[in-house]
């Protein structure tokens, strides 16, 4: 089953509803022990990076996440916390993916980046398999991860940023697949396919 991390910064109702629509089995996990029995993990997140990180630490999930070999999908702030840190509240992240989050320059355009935008595929990855570049996904964020060698698709708002990242068993999406209509469902389905097609 898929474990959805339940902590203070999760939009878990939206994520679990999306999994329900796909007919996937899941449960909510609030400790490292509960995560242990999962086949894969969805790590959602909304709001402030610091609040989210503090809540993870409180539950003792941060250390577990750093070392797990299970597939992990971070969504929005969940993805952001996989990085080394963020200028948002001077937050130290999990350090799974190299790099630091920066804030969009509000002198250039409106912040947050809120609404539907396209992404550009830079590398092939199962998570975005079959996704066309012209398709729109729903974003809401003020901080962004710069494009790096781990970026598999980039978004562009004010500056190019990492819209989809992957490193080893860790994957992250800056947009909200659970709120991105059928295109978002496709991304979640890809994640499920990836999880359930994997050999033990």
């Amino acid at each position: 089953m898929i474990a959805i991390i339940k902590y203070k910064a999760g939009n878990i109702a939206s994520v679990s509803n999306a999994l329900d629509r796909l007919g996937a089995h899941y449960y909510f996990a609030q400790s490292a022990q509960e995560l242990e029995s999962a086949k894969a993990v969805i790590f959602p997140g909304v709001g402030h990076a610091k609040t989210a990180m503090d809540s993870l630490k409180e539950l003792g999930i941060d250390e577990w996440l750093k070392t797990t070999r299970k597939p992990v999908l971070g969504i929005c702030v969940g993805m952001q916390l996989m990085y080394e840190g963020s200028t948002e509240g001077d937050t130290k992240g999990l350090g799974i993916i190299p790099g630091y989050l920066k804030k969009f320059d509000s002198e250039i355009d409106k912040v947050p980046h809120m609404g539907w935008n396209t992404i550009k595929k830079l590398k092939e990855h199962h998570l975005i398999h079959g996704l066309e570049d012209k398709k729109h996904l729903y974003f809401v964020h003020s901080f962004y991860a710069p494009v790096s060698e781990y970026t598999i698709a980039e978004g562009n708002y004010i500056t190019p940023f990492s819209a989809v990242v992957a490193k080893d068993n860790f994957m992250g999406v800056q947009f909200h697949p659970e709120k991105s209509g059928s295109v978002g469902s496709k991304v979640l389905q890809n994640f499920l396919d990836l999880v359930y097609s994997q050999k033990k």
């Binding site: 910064a9 939009n11 109702a13 939206s14 509803n17 999306a18 329900d20 629509r21 909304v46 709001g47 402030h48 609040t51 702030v77 509000s106 409106k110 912040v111 947050p112 980046h113 809120m114 609404g115 539907w116 935008n117 396209t118 729109h136 729903y138 974003f139 809401v140 964020h141 003020s142 562009n156 708002y157 909200h176 659970e178 709120k179 991105s180 209509g181 059928s182 978002g184 469902s185």
Partner: protein, 252 residues
């Protein structure tokens, strides 16, 4: 490219969808969940549910309805109407709402914006502002447009941004329900004062009105109720025309 959003608004009373002219003479027109699904299928980018009785009658928005909506549709939605506390916001977000819109409560207790934004993130907090022209400026009205607060609307919107609201939903009380077009003067002014997204509301009657709001006043999203509600304009058709006008949209 970030697209301009088309947002149908569903006014809710006792679990049913309603819409009247200038908030009076309500007409019943359907099940909100059914309508929400139809809008989502037609290409709506987001949905707004306003419990319009909530402020006047001090009723809480129906949590059960929010849960139903959240299981049925897979695009973002906002819930508003009579929300007064961080606890109520939490209840709605947990039920599956992506954002809440706050109106009268933040005028009485502006600090609520800071508290809510800190607790749930600015992205979840929409400041709804009902503005009406008084002499040469706009005042903020509350309680469904029945009470003038005497607050200057432009100053108030600057303040909600400073207090970390994620978005502004600006309704022109002069235009709401008239179908005479958005208040372009008001919307243009606001966009000079704030740098968070602005949703234009009040006055949509034709496709051209939506084009004007986006091209002339540079709003980020247009919200309307009755034109979609009674199928006067199909969302897919609206998007097709906006696209043909060179406005970035998410195709239906």
């Amino acid at each position: 490219m970030l697209t301009k959003r088309i947002i149908p608004c569903l006014d809710i009373k006792e679990g049913r969808t309603v819409k009247g002219v200038n908030f009076e003479g309500l007409r019943d027109a359907g099940d909100p969940v059914e309508l929400a699904r139809r809008y989502s299928d037609e290409g709506a980018d987001e949905l707004v549910f306003l419990d319009i009785t909530a402020t006047l009658e001090k009723r809480k928005t129906l949590i059960e309805l929010v849960k139903r909506i959240s299981t049925e549709i897979n695009i973002p939605f906002t819930v508003g109407g009579g929300i007064r506390s961080v606890e109520e916001i939490e209840e709605l977000l947990k039920a599956g709402a992506d954002k809440v819109s706050l109106n009268s409560s933040i005028v009485k207790d502006p600090e609520l914006i800071n508290r809510a934004s800190e607790a749930f993130g600015a992205q979840a907090i929409v400041a709804a502002v009902d503005a009406k022209k008084v002499d040469d400026h706009w005042d903020v009205f509350i309680k469904g447009g029945t009470e003038n607060t005497g607050k200057d609307a432009l100053k108030w919107m600057t303040e909600v941004e400073e207090r970390d609201a994620g978005e502004i939903m600006l309704t022109s009380m002069d235009r709401d329900g008239t179908k005479n077009g958005f208040d372009l003067e008001l919307l243009s002014q606001v966009n000079k004062c704030v740098s968070i997204p602005v949703i234009a509301s009040g006055g949509a009657g034709t496709i051209q009105h939506c084009i004007d709001a986006i091209k002339v006043a540079n709003v980020d999203a247009v919200l309307a109720a009755s034109i979609f509600h009674f199928k006067e304009i199909e969302i897919s058709e609206l998007k097709r025309v906006l696209g043909a006008e060179g406005i970035p949209i998410r195709p239906s």
